[in-house]
C-alpha cells in the first residue's frame, strides 16, 4: 500500500529562542510524518540550532539531527521575517504547520488546513514563566516515580517527554487532518492542535494520579523495594518483572528453597521483602547469561527481559529478522543506522526515509 501521508505537505519551524524540548517535539512529529510519506519541509536556523549542536556527532552532524531530520527537506533559515519570500512560499503551500507557541505569528500568515502549536504549559494561568522538560517532569509527578527512594529522582534516558509530546502532536495533526478533509467537511474547515508538555506528562502519569486521587497516597519511586527490579546477571542485567500468576514459574526458574519462605508467600509480602527476594534471584542470575535467562523465562512464559544496549540491539536477531534498524547515510555521507517507524501494514513497513540500502 502507499504511505498514508503521501502527497501531504507539512512545514515545521520553531522560533529562534525556542527551548530545546519544544524543538525536539516538533522535529519528532515531523519525523513520524516523513516516515509516513509526508513531504516535510524543515526551516532550520542557519547557526546555533541546538539540535545540530548536541553531542554526540557522526560525520560532523549530531546524531539527534541525523535521526530527527531523516526524510525531510531542510531549508537553512535566518528566522521569521515578513520579507522572507521562501518562507512565504512554503507557508502558502503547506497543508499542515508544526510550530512552537513562540512561532504562532507564522501561523497567522498561512491558510494551512491544520496548525499545530507546542508549548510547555499552553496559556495556563499560574504556569511557571520558564521551564525545561526536566522541570515539567518534576511538576507532573513523573520524575518522582523513577529511581531509588534513598536518592534523587531520576529522569528517563534520552528525550522521552519531548518525544512523547511529538507523538501527541503527530496523532493530533493526523486526527485533525482526517477531520478537515472528510467528505462532509466544508472546504473552509480548519483546525488548530495544541500540545503542552505538562499535559502530556500528566497524561502519561495517569495511573499515579488516579491512585493519588482515590487514596490520597501517591506511589513513589521504589527502586529495589518493589518486586519488579533490575538485577545483575553474568554478563549484564535483567529486568525481573512478574505478576501473581508468575510466582510459581519464577520459583521453578530460580529453584531455591529460600523463595518458599513465608515472607514471600503473597504479593504484598514479596513487595515488603523485595530486596531480599531480589538478592536471592540475583544470586541465581549471576550464574547465567542474559540469553540463558531469557531462554529459561521463555520456556515458563515469564515476562522477564534482558537489558540490552543500543550496540546489543544493532546485532539483535529479532531486530535483524524484522529489518528494524537499517543502514543509511547522513547528509554528509557518513554511514549510520536508522530505526524504521515501528508500524507495519500487511507486513509491509513504512519506509525508513533515509535508508540508503538494507543490511
Amino acid at each position: 500500500m502507499s504511505l498514508p501521508l503521501a502527497g501531504v505537505k507539512l512545514l515545521e519551524a520553531t522560533s529562534l529562542d525556542c527551548p530545546l524540548a519544544l524543538r525536539l517535539a516538533v522535529a519528532f512529529a515531523g519525523r513520524v510524518a516523513a516516515a509516513l510519506g509526508a513531504q516535510v519541509v524543515r526551516f532550520e536556523q542557519v547557526s546555533g540550532d541546538p539540535i545540530q549542536g548536541c553531542e554526540p556527532k557522526v560525520g560532523g552532524q549530531s546524531t539527534l539531527s541525523v535521526f530527527l531530520n531523516a526524510g525531510k527537506r531542510v531549508i537553512p533559515w535566518g528566522g521569521p521575517s515578513e520579507r522572507d519570500g521562501t518562507l512565504q512560499v512554503e507557508l502558502g503551500s503547506a497543508e499542515i504547520l508544526l510550530l512552537d507557541q513562540g512561532a504562532a505569528a507564522m501561523a497567522e500568515r498561512s491558510d494551512a488546513k491544520v496548525k499545530a502549536l507546542v508549548s510547555f504549559f499552553g496559556d495556563r494561568p499560574g504556569a511557571p514563566r520558564d521551564a525545561s522538560a526536566f522541570t515539567v517532569l518534576a511538576l507532573s509527578g513523573v520524575l518522582d516515580t523513577v529511581g531509588d527512594p534513598q536518592r534523587e529522582p531520576l529522569r528517563l534516558g534520552g528525550h522521552q517527554l519531548a518525544y512523547a509530546a511529538g507523538l501527541s502532536l503527530y496523532t493530533g495533526i493526523a486526527a485533525a487532518y482526517f477531520g478537515v478533509t472528510g467528505a462532509d467537511a466544508p472546504p473552509a474547515a480548519r483546525e488548530t492542535v495544541r500540545v503542552s508538555l505538562f499535559d502530556v506528562a500528566m497524561w502519561l502519569n495517569w495511573k499515579n494520579l488516579a491512585a493519588a486521587a482515590a487514596s490520597g497516597a501517591s506511589p513513589t519511586r521504589a527502586g529495589r523495594s518493589h518486586q519488579w527490579q533490575i538485577l545483575r546477571c553474568r554478563d549484564g542485567w535483567v529486568a525481573l518483572v512478574f505478576m501473581e500468576k508468575d510466582w510459581g514459574p519464577l520459583q521453578s526458574l530460580v529453584d531455591d528453597d529460600r523463595l518458599r519462605d513465608p515472607r514471600f508467600a503473597t504479593e504484598a509480602l514479596r513487595n515488603r521483602n523485595a530486596r531480599a527476594l531480589g538478592d536471592i534471584v540475583e544470586e541465581h542470575f549471576l550464574k547465567l547469561t542474559r540469553r540463558e535467562i531469557e531462554a529459561e523465562a521463555r520456556t515458563r512464559r515469564l515476562p522477564i527481559g534482558a537489558v540490552w544496549s543500543p550496540v546489543d540491539l544493532a546485532n539483535d536477531a529479532h531486530y535483524l529478522a524484522r529489518d528494524f534498524l537499517r543502514a543509511a547515510r547522513t547528509a554528509e555521507g557518513a554511514t549510520c543506522l536508522q530505526p524504521a517507524l515501528p508500524v507495519r501494514w500487511h507486513r509491509t513497513e513504512a519506509a525508513a526515509p533515509a535508508a540508503a540500502g538494507r543490511r
Partner: protein, 390 residues
C-alpha cells in the same frame, strides 16, 4: 464545526489494561463509537484492579479507578468469544465496524478464528490494529512481556540510571512503555483511516511496543557505541539535577549556559568555567541544602534559573485545576479520569460518558447494530453467550 474527527467510525475494542484500552480510549475521545467487548471469562483485569484505599470500593463494583480512568466514552458489550456463537456475533458486528483493536498474546486472534483474513472476509474495509510486545514476526514474536520488560529489552533502561550505576526502568506506577504506545497506536489507526479513504481497502496494522521504545531512543542507534547513563544530566545544559532542601524536598534545576554566571553569583561560587561543573554543582548542593524549599525556589526563580519542586502524584494534582485543565478530567462524583494528551480547537475532544458495567450496553448493541430480535438475544443471554450486567 462541532463534530469530532472520528464521528461515524466504529471500533470493536478487545484491548485490555493500558496499551490496548488506552488506544481505543483516544479513538473514543476523537468521536469514534467504541464498543468494549469483554465477558466473564475474558474481563479487563483493570475491572478488578483496586488502587490504594479504593480497594473496598473496587470489591463492590467492577468500575475501580483505573478501569474508569481509561474506559470512559466507551460502550460495553458482554460477549463470550470462546463460544462459536459468540464469535459469530462478533463477526456480524465486525461487518458493520471500521476498526478492531487488540493486544492479545500473539496467536490468540487466529486461534479464536478472528484474525485479519477472517475479519476481511466479512468486511474488506476493516482495519485490525494489533499491539504486541515484539510484533507479529521474528524469532521473539511469541515472547511475553509487560511495558517495563520492554524498557529493558528496547534499550531505554540501558540509557536510564544514576551516573556509573545500574540500568533503571520506570516502575509499575508509571509503566511508561504502555502509555506512549497508546498515543502512537491511535495516531497510526487514524493514519490508516486516511489511507483507507484513498484506496477503500482495510489492512492489518501491526505495532511492536519494543520497537516503539527503541524508536523513542532513536538517536542512540544512529552510531551506537558510547551510550551510557548520566543520571539527570542532559546536553546541552551545563548543570541539570535534583537537589535536596533543608526541609527534605527535592528541587529540579536546569541551568543554561547563559544563566550559569547568575547561578554562581547566587550560590557564592567562583566562576568554574566549562570544566568547573562539579564545583558549581557542589556549591549549589550546599546552598540548597541550607534552605527550605520555598526560599530556595523563590531565590532561584528571581535569579532566572529554571527550577521546580519535585511533586508526587498528590502534589501534582494539588496545583490547581486551571493548570491541569486538559490532562485530567473530573467527573461529577469528583473522581479523576484520564484527560487528553493534545487538544483540538474546533473539533474538541470531550468525555461524554463514564465507563460502563460489563454488558451494560449489550441489549442495545445486539438489537440496533447486530439486528438480533429480542427472543434471540434472550436465548443468547440464557446460554451465557451474551452477557448483561450482574
Amino acid at each position: 464545526m462541532t463534530g469530532r474527527p472520528l464521528e461515524g467510525c466504529r471500533v470493536l475494542d478487545l484491548g485490555i489494561l493500558t496499551a490496548g484500552a488506552a488506544t481505543s480510549a483516544l479513538l473514543a475521545d476523537l468521536g469514534a463509537d467504541v464498543i468494549k467487548v469483554e465477558s466473564k471469562v475474558y474481563r479487563d483485569p483493570f475491572r478488578q484492579w483496586p488502587s490504594g484505599a479504593a480497594k473496598e470500593e473496587a470489591e463492590k463494583s467492577d468500575l475501580p479507578p483505573f478501569y474508569r480512568a481509561t474506559n470512559r466514552n466507551k460502550r460495553s458489550l458482554g460477549l463470550n468469544l470462546k463460544h462459536p456463537e459468540g464469535r459469530a456475533v462478533f463477526m456480524k458486528l465486525a461487518a458493520r465496524s471500521d476498526i478492531v483493536v487488540e493486544n492479545f498474546r500473539r496467536g490468540v486472534m487466529a486461534s479464536l478464528g478472528l484474525d485479519f483474513p477472517a475479519l476481511q472476509r466479512v468486511n474488506p474495509a476493516i482495519i485490525l490494529a494489533s499491539l504486541s510486545s515484539q510484533g507479529e514476526s521474528g524469532p521473539d514474536a511469541d515472547r511475553v512481556s509487560f511495558g517495563s520488560t520492554l524498557e529493558a529489552s528496547g534499550g531505554l533502561a540501558w540509557l536510564t540510571g544514576y551516573a556509573g550505576g545500574d540500568p533503571t526502568m520506570s516502575g509499575i506506577a508509571l509503566n511508561y512503555a504502555d502509555q506512549v504506545v497508546a498515543i502512537f497506536a491511535a495516531g497510526m489507526v487514524v493514519s490508516t483511516l486516511l489511507d483507507r479513504r484513498k484506496h477503500g481497502a482495510g489492512c492489518h496494522l501491526e505495532i511492536s511496543q519494543r520497537e516503539l521504545i527503541s524508536f523513542l531512543c532513536g538517536e542512540s542507534f544512529v552510531a551506537p557505541g558510547a551510550e551510557s547513563r548520566h543520571g539527570n544530566a542532559e546536553a546541552p545544559w551545563p548543570i541539570q539535577d535534583c537537589f535536596r532542601t533543608a526541609d527534605g524536598c527535592w528541587i529540579a534545576i536546569t541551568v543554561s549556559a547563559e544563566r550559569r554566571t547568575a547561578l554562581e553569583s547566587l550560590v557564592g561560587c567562583i566562576h568554574g568555567g566549562i570544566t568547573g561543573n562539579d564545583a558549581t554543582t557542589a556549591a549549589l548542593r550546599g546552598w540548597i541544602g541550607a534552605r527550605n524549599a520555598d526560599a530556595a525556589l523563590a531565590a532561584l526563580d528571581a535569579a532566572g534559573i529554571i527550577c521546580a519542586p519535585v511533586l508526587d502524584g498528590a502534589g501534582a494534582l494539588a496545583q490547581g485545576e486551571a493548570l491541569q485543565r486538559d490532562a485530567v478530567v473530573r467527573v461529577p462524583d469528583g473522581k479523576l479520569l484520564k484527560g487528553f494528551p493534545f487538544t483540538l480547537e474546533a473539533m474538541a475532544m470531550r468525555v461524554d460518558a463514564d465507563a460502563r458495567a460489563l454488558g451494560a450496553d449489550s441489549a442495545r448493541i445486539m438489537s440496533e447494530l447486530g439486528g438480533y430480535p429480542a427472543d434471540e438475544i434472550a436465548r443468547l443471554v440464557k446460554e451465557g453467550i451474551v452477557e448483561f450486567p450482574g
